[in-house]
């Protein structure tokens, strides 16, 4: 019958374990406690998809926001998150009216240069914002 395993002499192994564990844990956290790019965005960091759609995404990183439709249309913006207020100023790369329409009509957020939203809920997976009774619900994607 094939040997399956042998008895493991634990006591002496365990004496060495703490130092090895510290070494690996330190190496791991040194490695991963990196500076996450765009971490200044705080809890907003990430890509959010509007609930019930597959063509409305908003991403936050650093102090930059990005609205896109998942098909190549992009509008960049500055944003500020203060308390439960979210202020967004969009900019069109080529000054196109279609970019303004993309934000104000496709996303329904206006005005293009000065969007002011209230954050009703923000956690790891969900973001709910509102403006004058209109509500947008997003989930992390």
């Amino acid at each position: 019958m094939a040997n399956f395993y042998k008895k493991i002499h634990l006591p002496s192994a365990l004496l060495h374990l703490p130092s090895a564990f510290i070494l690996l844990t330190s190496a791991f956290f040194l490695h991963t406690s990196s500076c996450q790019e765009g971490r200044e965005a705080g809890d907003l960091l990430g890509q959010w998809r509007q609930t019930g759609t597959d063509d409305r995404y908003v991403s936050f990183a650093g102090s930059v926001a990005l609205f896109h439709d998942g098909q190549g249309r992009k509008v960049f913006a500055n944003f500020q998150h203060v308390g439960d207020s979210l202020m967004i100023q969009c900019h069109s790369i080529e000054g196109l009216a279609t970019d303004t329409a993309h934000i104000e009509q496709h996303f329904g957020m206006k005005p293009f240069k000065d969007i002011r939203l209230k954050i009703d809920n923000l956690d790891d997976d969900h973001l709910i914002v509102s403006q004058g009774g209109q509500i947008w619900s997003f989930y992390k994607y």
């Binding site: 399956f4 991963t32 765009g38 650093g62 500055n78 069109s92």
Partner: protein, 510 residues
Amino acid sequence: MPKPMDSQRFLLMMACSLGLLTTHAQDSLNTHISYDLTTEAAFGTGDYTAYQLVTNRHHVLGTRANTGYTRGAVTIEHQWNKDWKLSGAVDIIASAHADHKTYLQQCYANLSYQQFFLEAGVREQHQVIRDEDLSIGSFAKGTNAKPFLQLHLGTNGYWTVPYTKGWLEINLDGGYGRFMDSDYREEAFNRGIKANGKNVNDKYATGILYHQKHFFFRTNPHKRFFFVGGIEHVVQFGGTKYAYDKEGVLTSKSKPTNLRSYLEIILPLGDKNYYENDAMEDWIYGNHLGEMTVQLGWNINKDHLLQVYYDDIFEDGSGMRMSNGIDGTCGIQYDNKTAGKQYIRKVVMEYFQSTNQSGPLHFDGGDYPEPIRSEITDLVTGNDEYYNHTCYDSYTHYGMTPGIALITSPIYNKNGLTTFCDNRVKAWHMGISGEVTNHLSYLAKGSYREGWGTYDFPLAQKHYSFDAMFQGIYTTGPWQFSAAYAFDKGNIYGDCSTFNLKIGYHGKLL
């Protein structure tokens, strides 16, 4: 398939090397010539040969369903003395209903001095620290694609550094080479032209050059605890890019391949004047990717080893600065080194993630004209787009990623796209192997993954797939017989069910 001229040159070079070998063999006992004959068939249902049968096998078996091949290889080794050895091999595959019909899989010459080597040609390279049979492999220098043509030097395994009393060993390799799939890339690009005349692809590249290096060090592996650390780094550079301009005309632009370019890609330091030197083109010259590894080994006793590891992946600068969260592979591996048959010989469990990519967006004012360059002043260098590149299109060789196959290779894209469409992935993987009798061994592995597409083009519906394989291997003398069953369930490869049979013979001529 390499261009005829290239393969003729190689065969001539190899023939000369092998002729040199045999004519200088003063003692025939120092010269060994062996051959391997293999035939393999995979048949079943579904659109593809099941994932686990194809993955991490140097693209020997085709991805199409119901495929097979016959393979013949001749290997020559000549040991001049205890320090010097010359070896080489020629290895040809002839396939049916496959991604390639006939292919020169390997053709190389290797000169070794003690634990160092210099090698030229095409050769299947082995994993340095990941288990070749059970692990998902390496992000950059994996075993999933056909091997590259290269000239490289390094150590044969780990080399004990002198005067360290066995406490420090290093394993290194480095060299330059070339992607051999220029014709394939052009054909794949043109397959993207749809009935309306528009191409779903916007670029391709040919004549891409290749640079690779790895450096790993470890403490004495025979002590109770030992540590392994290191880095591997791969670069695509040079070549010619073909892309549509604003008028829809396909235009070409060649990248420099002078001595300076060969030196620049060793360390990706970047071009601070890239605003003037063609913005959005080459902030960093070449496509750089790789991984950094930390690993701890615990010799429980002389027969049992447990290792835990983390491979931190990177593609471009933000990843190199470890700004991409925990993207990479976390794993644990158990090895049973007990002699004789062991029901459990090795176990590997891994978690792989590529969803962070240093954040969801990339904005650099230098990439855009005024006024937006002045309106948004923050610099955010995320959206690393693993395995895709603005110049080289994709990190692939004949449509397969040389890295981690859990990021679905473009060869599987039914929409004709030549880029990776799903590089934001989370996956769980496990593999186990052992022996049932002295002649019969087994291997089983399975992966479950989820994918969200890319940041630029998120998937409307999340991808998922469960892929598993069970294999029995019977070895008797020079013969090896293998039977396997593998399946895929999900919306990446569809539902595939594949039976696989393989017969191999290893013979010696001298």
